[in-house]
Symmetry: C2
């Protein structure tokens, strides 16, 4: 450990009894741990600048002395680590995990207890966590609050959503931290389940310092612990961990040995580097699934978006308002004739998926119980195994199999996790018996056990139980309305995607901001892939119902670009298939685009403004480029230097039309082909909330002759 | 319905808009329902005396107008019903279910909602419940509180325990209702889980009016609803329903159609009639188990009491204090050498059971996890399928089978119902695979889901789920630390017994009062059989540890009598087998006594003082008599007129010795045989907290010659 230096300096007002410093492998970041007045603190510097002022560490407990002070450093260990690993699916083929580590054992003599704080300092940021060895005086404890601070040293610009125990489905607000108090109450709308935490912000929290350095605060490897919001002191710009309580206001029931999730701070001089960071993944454990052959990327369509479009479909089979599973006899009820998950419609989707090369067809509303699934605090809403009369599960799964397509299961729990846990084995066996290998889970509404939250420890354990049990059955999980991801897809790669943010569905009920998808990769996606469900071609809903004022805040081309800018190995072509049939040339991009990658280049990015990304398809010499902008039209220059030397590629360019505009003219686009090589640069105009999507394949001789070269 | 009269009288101060009266089949009880100021009320008279003054009916809701007033009577129906039915197991072979019924449909015009109040008036009391038909304006609602009152008309004597959401394991206090405030805080001790409800009392609540009439207030058929305590107004002597809240203070999540449990008031001029009442059973639904052949009475011994006696044994296998199931490797740990559930000890119990004709051997502490099972709010305490290394489940169950004995399973949940629900199928399959057909469940400690209570709706549903799932596997359930029984063993006869009161175990930690078992049949046992675990012969614990001041507050003979006075088709001989071997003559009664009956005669009883009961064994010409007294020595006269005409019976009489005393001389007893017939009367002396136990078999010729006749 040549780069590590142990120093004892009186840097702060409080007398420093102990201090220890490590640097990142490249020497740019410096982490100092210190004990002033026996209180553990850390601070972080980047190229000599203070990023995180001295910030407290520790935990407050119920019915036991706090673990926040009275410590001495009993032991410290430093370590350097470097490995490369290959994710089962991902943005790149190989990930470098390289850090210097400092582990301090803190002893509290008054209680004869010891805890350990472990820091890992990467070139792209810091992770640290608390560890609690098993010991006579610390076998079980209950957390009142985590004392961890992130003391920022100025009024940073932030892309934020309000702290909440139950939902992340908010629009982002962009403001300086000092402006948060004035904007806080305006920042959120209603949700099926929400518990706002006053003056707290959710993580991943994207920050930009006045000097242009970016910070991104989150957590990694959230296991056995409640999720974190951060409380903001808008005067001192100090953030403080705020854990999610249970029904009794307790924030965690811990049995030693235990360690908390990592608290993470990604640091970058360029926004592009934030998107390229693999720090959170690196802080997660390697895969616990030995054979991952069955975990595969999924491009899918679904009986879904029609339920959000006026008059196009419903989840429910009837118009009754009171269902009792096992008692309500649907065969005797009058169908409402709008039920989307009917045999005819599903077969149509299977046919379309087969014809256009999709892996799967999601079908929502296939099972009994949708008539009163929502907002009733009902526990036994679904049994996850009983189809509606017009959904012939055997016929349809057989039919799908005959076409080389798989149906994707939908397990909406209505938040009743207790009910889901009772049914889970039966439900997963049902899936296996019918050839399903992927499930979309949902947690709409308040949680049962009542009083628990979507982010509380019991629910974190639940989500992890679902993932692990699904793995036993060979099932991939895409969970919606669950907690913010924290890189656990490294450990459980069958957790292929999640929602945990405001997705495309909101375009139909509250609308998303045009800059929404330029922020999400810097926030929600820092923790893992999102099932954002892009691909809406018919963005204006007045198409279905004259006078309907709702619209997707995006041009059609931007919808294409999202397949590249929003990384996920599970990607939906979310629109109704009839709309794809109206725009077959644009649809070609969705058919072509990869969802799993060997390489990724963040070409340009600024949160809230624009993102341009190039990705190389897994195992192929094909690249795809996606570029998006916020509400402002923009010219972006795409530098093709990521391409292989000397080769020309056919670039199929999907661009906004000259007069395209996300509100007034979203469906105007041009598609053309041109030859590019690594020296090419494309100056590309993007419409207001528009985009550009490019597919690149090596040109064959004929194409080299036929096509023009990009100037 | 000749006995029903519809009357409209202005009986109260409030103008009576509507009144309707029914009488019990024998005409002694009269129930009047009325609407004064549109508020529903009922009152109850017995032979012209007012037992229950006008008392309000209804429910208060969350986020919806209350269902307590603003009603008119839209419809009323009367009905008379009479049937006889045979319980699968019970105190009598045939039960008469005979009542007159009044059902009033109440309409609340302001909300266009309707509820129904159904009254059933039996000769031995009243039952009533609320019914909520499915209707457009009442599909789902959340209960704030039930408004039901029981307005007593005087300062009755009460045998009571403090209201609580989590435990009934208290000593009874005997006082007038007016004295409750002064005694309330002294009435309860600590418990592993308790939530006292100020100035509330638990049901079954036994009351005695100044005129000698007994009232017993409870509930029947507690399904899908939280359990009831009753709040006392010690000045007006009004009791009011107080339901158990969940973690959020809500008392019930209801989906229509629904009906509440029955609120029950047993009425009797004699205490004996209270014990003979089958009103609560009659208000439960008939058995939902079609084939009940597998449900059988169980007399059992167990590896159990030794854990309560100093130095005699432990549940846990080691002395560690931190277990992780699946991680902790017991094979590598040092055994504590006190573990009771070891192969040698269990085989000894199996041998003893086989030798003495017991059906089963309960083994507690057989499975991994006991080291830290208690008070840690730990969720994954047990997996219910992993034995300790010294408990060879296959060998032992095979050995038991070879001896004609069955092991009884023990599922302690530590209150973690969520964990139990996850394991339940696996645990029951494990039982079936190993030949177990009965399980003792336990809920020691605070409930998980955290914030739920032992009596809250979610847990009521849980207990019922356990019973129903056990029935699917052919398993009988004896649940401990669960809710007060409410006669559901009629509907689910595999729910053979429960604890839900302060049982014998408390003799070793807090002690029971000498009058405890003279009260329990009037309180706890009104709802169903109790696994009281009598039969402690070595009552003084200084036998095990000199100087230990604890003792079972009973003579040895009283312990015998409890097998008759405390009805249960599941009865334990709770003492260690070594103690039975010391007193083989007294032990003979436990071997002989039946646990399922064709007939029962309550010979004499007064709550808190004495009980004498005679029961006729199922399918046999054998009777057993048990008599007990409180701390006072007493002479009881046993009238054998219940015997068949003309036949002489050999009575084997187990009586307290002349100087017997529950503290100073508990093990002094006499056993003698004498001939009795239906004209015989036995004047029997009972020691302080003593008893008498008698077995009666028809005398053969030799016995008629040899034995003396009782004078």
């Amino acid at each position: 450990m040549k780069r590590l230096f142990s120093i004892c300096l009186a840097l702060m007002v409080a007398p420093i009894l102990f201090a220890q410093t490590i640097q990142s492998p490249d020497g740019a970041l410096e982490l100092q741990f210190s004990l002033g007045d026996s209180i553990p603190q850390y601070q972080l510097r980047f190229k000599g600048k203070e990023l995180i002022r001295p910030s407290r560490l520790g935990l407050e407990l119920f019915d036991a002395p706090s673990l926040t002070g009275g410590f001495f450093a009993k032991n410290q260990q430093t370590n350097s680590f470097q490995e490369s690993w290959n994710p089962v699916m991902g943005e790149v083929k190989t990930i470098l995990n390289h850090y210097n580590e400092l582990a301090i054992t803190l002893r509290q003599p008054s209680t004869q207890r010891e805890i350990l704080v472990r820091f890992r300092l990467f070139n792209d940021g810091l992770g640290f966590r608390y560890e609690f060895p098993q010991q006579p005086n610390l076998n079980y404890f209950v957390i009142r609050e985590e004392a961890t601070q992130f003391a920022l040293n100025g009024d940073h610009k932030a892309w934020w959503i309000a702290g909440d125990y139950d939902t992340e489905e908010y629009k982002y607000t962009t403001s300086n931290l000092s402006e948060v108090p004035a904007l806080f109450d305006k920042s959120y709308e209603g949700n099926a389940s929400q518990t706002i935490v006053p003056m707290a912000l959710q993580t991943p929290l994207m920050l930009k310092r006045p000097d242009g350095v970016y910070l991104n605060i989150h957590e990694a490897a959230l296991v056995g612990y409640s999720a974190m919001n951060v409380e903001l002191d808008p005067k001192s710009f100090q953030l403080k961990a705020h854990l999610t309580p249970d029904a009794q206001g307790r924030k965690g029931y811990i049995q030693t040995p235990f360690h908390t999730p990592w608290r993470t701070i990604v640091v970058a001089e360029k926004a592009e580097q934030v998107l390229a960071s693999k720090l959170i993944l690196n802080l997660n454990e390697p895969s616990k699934i030995a054979n991952t052959d069955w975990i595969k990327p999924v491009k899918y369509i679904g009986v879904w978006w029609q339920m959000f479009c006026p008059g196009q479909g419903s989840w429910s089979y009837t118009d009754i308002d009171n269902v009792r599973l096992g008692v309500t006899d649907y065969k005797k009820l009058t169908p409402n004739k709008t039920h989307g998950a009917n045999n005819t419609n599903v077969k149509k989707y299977i046919d379309f998926a087969a014809k256009h090369g999709f892996d799967g067809v999601l079908v929502e509303g296939w099972n009994e119980g949708w008539e009163d699934w929502f907002g009733k605090s009902k526990e036994d809403v679904f049994d996850f195994v009983t189809p509606y009369p017009d959904f012939d599960v055997k016929m349809l799964t057989d039919y799908a199999r005959s076409k080389g397509v798989r149906l994707i299961m939908h397990h909406e729990t209505s938040g009743a996790a207790t009910n889901y846990e009772r049914w889970m084995d039966t439900a997963f066996r049902f899936m296996v018996n019918h050839g399903y290998n992927a499930v979309k889970t949902g947690y709409v509404g308040n949680i049962i056990p009542r009083g628990e939250h979507h982010y509380s420890q019991w629910m974190i354990n639940h989500y992890n139980r679902v993932i692990q049990k699904a793995a036993q059955y060979g099932i991939m999980v895409n969970s919606h309305e669950s907690v913010h991801p924290t890189g656990l897809h490294r450990t459980w790669p069958n957790a292929i995607a999640a929602e945990a943010a405001r997705g495309t569905e909101y375009e139909s009920f509250g609308g998303n901001n045009p800059d929404h998808t330029t922020i999400l990769p810097f926030t929600r996606l820092m923790g893992g892939p999102m099932d954002y469900t892009p691909g809406i071609f018919q963005t204006r809903l007045d198409y279905y119902q004259p006078g309907d004022s709702r619209y997707v805040t995006s041009t059609l081309v931007k919808q294409l670009a999202l397949y590249v800018t929003m990384y996920s190995p599970l990607q939906m072509a979310a629109d109704m298939i009839e709309n794809y049939e109206r725009f077959p040339d644009a649809f070609q991009f969705i058919k072509d685009v990869a969802v799993d990658w060997d390489d990724t280049k963040i070409l340009s990015a600024e949160p809230g403004d624009y993102i341009t990304i190039a990705r190389k398809a897994k195992g192929k010499e094909e690249w795809f480029v996606g570029g998006i902008t916020d509400e402002n039209p923009r010219v972006t220059t795409i530098d093709f230097s990521f391409l292989d030397a000397d080769d020309y590629y056919v670039a199929t360019i999907y661009e906004d039309g000259k007069n395209a505009h996300y509100i007034t003219n979203p469906q105007q686009y041009n598609i053309y082909k041109v030859l590019v090589n690594k020296k090419s640069k494309l100056k590309q105009q993007l419409a207001a909330s528009g985009g550009v999507a490019i597919s690149l394949k090596k040109a064959d001789k004929e194409e080299l002759k036929k096509l023009k070269k990009l100037k």
